[in-house]
Symmetry: C2
Subunit: 350 residues, 2 copies
DNA sequence: TTGTACGCGTTATCAA
DNA sequence: TTGATAACGCGTACAA
């Protein structure tokens, strides 16, 4: 047993490897491997001795080496468009729970709503050989090539919330069209006539589908769709604020009497703009959002919105992905998570 | 060149390796490695051909293999006690930004405020051979052994927000004692006499230090410290609610006229309890928090609190860790991020 | 400028 | 029940 203490590049103790344990116990690495992984074909006495030495030396199995030979990392890559949107932390929590119980880890990345950056993080995620990808698309995406490439190279994707339905990947989210129809119709039902919509980009599923739902309600209610009342706000507070400014600059006569915001954040921005114009909610303008982030219920005029079960979306998405990674199910599912209307003050319908 | 197409365990295309590219281009793997990493000693023509083939085959460098030989993963492990606390997503965003610009990735884990789970995630993080650890301790931790072991095995730790100062690791956070002194003193200065404190566990730095700050203010103001007014709430809304219930069950005469909550979440819980008792804030009971989460400013009675720059804490913590990982600085720093008092309605001092 | 041999820490395979 | 050997995909050291 020649034990040369060669490289000492790191200042600290070199970590024990299975080989190190093997030589200390006087067995081969394979026996150590078997003992450490609770595999059969190891004598009970040998196993105990190995476990003892392993603990004694603070052995930590090297997942990197394991991943290399196993061709699996037991790691999921998560792409979040904007960590600050309080919807997403809740989704992440759901993802984390599902991953943790299944023994998977999470590499978290942030696209910052930027297509180029999204592409970049996906590519590094592939380099890290994650077993699968959980993606909510950035606001500025136009091409799906990055996704397609990843899938083609064997990294399954499950989209959550902002989904891409036409490339064979599974998708988990609410029924955006139906939900936006619900909120819009709630307003229409209560007599609002000039209902505006702060919409998201058409390239993003929830932007597109929610707009559809808005339109459907107007058309069913026999209300005319006024293009000047459909303004692109995007998903941010600032976007909602700016879009609403535009609406409020319309001549008094053609101003909306209600606003359907694509999400709660945009609704908050709208509320801020409305407040600055010294208008009252809902008396002068009613407003509804979608998402039901925690703040929606506690702002000065509580926001009527769609309760979107973020945790469940994350959990379901992760479970779906893991199941596909392990070959138990096939990709291409479209999973709809139930959502419901939360009626509060901002719509003035109570 | 014998090319046996052996294993095809995964259904999809086998990913190209540097060897694959090498044989296609007709050079050795080393030349490929050099070309792909922009290293010298590669003919310009050869380099271009290699790059072309690499792109053509969608080559993705295998970080796993790279990490194994380099003994570095360029990955940081992040432990978050509770993802839902809106303070933490903001911290994560800061961490992510610093990590991304330095070329590091993040493995995100969740201790769920539980010591055993924290130990578990740290151990798997070590197995994944992260280059360093960013930790905010769970509420229930009592022992620091796990941290010490990690450090001893060569994985540096930087604590953020909830720190551990006595084990040689760097810490990044606000000056908790000073800040809690500030809020408490703000109340005392305005004539409140029976100031209660909803405190965190003494085993967690911010619980301990904030209690100290509270005490300091009382003692300097000549107010008696009443043990019945110091109640353990922990860091959650529910905890704040329960603790406040206890306070409100005190005989009228000994009830507090103000409450210093260990954080905003506990303060929200307190507000809920107070509202249920049909008491007014701040007329009947004033309340202040710490943290300044987004909701603090928008709840019906806006909360006076300490503005804690979460993003900056995360960014600084990550930068500090990366710098230590790369051997540019030594561990053991105590970095204080500035915070200031945000006076709003809940303290009744305006 | 390019290539060869070896090692990183682990698991699978097959022989002992 | 155990062990020797060959992968896994890449980088380092040194030879050509």
């Amino acid at each position: 047993m020649k034990k040369k203490k060669k490289r000492n590049s790191r200042k600290s103790l070199k970590r024990v490897t299975s080989k190190g344990i093997a030589s200390r116990v006087g067995v081969s690495v394979m026996t150590v491997s078997r003992a450490l992984n609770n595999r059969p074909y190891v004598g009970e006495r040998t196993r105990r001795r190995i476990l003892k030495v392993a603990k004694e030396f603070g052995y930590s199995p090297n997942h990197i080496a394991r991943s290399l030979v196993m061709q699996r990392t037991e790691t999921l890559g998560v792409v979040v468009p904007e960590i600050s949107h309080s919807f997403f932390p809740e989704v992440i929590k759901g993802i984390e729970q599902a991953a943790y119980s299944a023994g998977y880890h999470l590499i978290l990345t942030h696209s910052a709503e930027d297509e180029a950056r999204e592409k970049d993080v996906i590519s590094t995620l592939e380099s890290k050989r994650v077993d699968g990808l959980l993606i909510s698309t950035a606001q500025t995406v136009t091409s799906h090539k990055t996704y397609l490439d990843a899938i083609r190279m064997g990294t399954p994707i499950v989209f959550y919330d902002r989904v891409v339905t036409d490339i064979g990947a599974s998708c988990v989210g609410i029924n955006d069209e139906e939900c936006c129809y619900m909120v819009t119709d709630h307003l229409a039902e209560h007599g609002y006539k000039a209902i505006a919509h702060l919409c998201g980009p058409a390239s993003v599923s929830i932007g597109r589908d929610r707009l559809k739902g808005y339109r459907k309600s107007l058309s069913r209610r026999g209300l005319k769709l006024r293009p000047d009342l459909v303004i692109r706000s995007g998903f941010s507070e600032e976007g909602g604020y700016a879009a609403t400014q535009t609406l409020l600059r319309l001549p008094q006569i053609s101003r909306p009497d209600a606003i359907v915001a694509v999400n709660d954040l945009a609704a908050f921005g709208a509320m801020r703009a409305i407040a600055e114009h010294k208008l009252r909610i809902p008396e002068d303008i009613a407003i509804v959002g979608m998402g039901d982030v925690a703040m929606a219920a506690v702002v000065s005029t509580p926001l009527t919105t769609i309760q979107q079960p973020a945790f469940e979306i994350g959990k379901t998405a992760a479970e779906t992905l893991i199941s596909e990674v392990e070959g138990r199910t096939k990709p291409g599912k479209r999973i709809i998570i139930g959502a419901r209307l939360a009626i509060r003050k901002s719509c003035g319908c109570s």
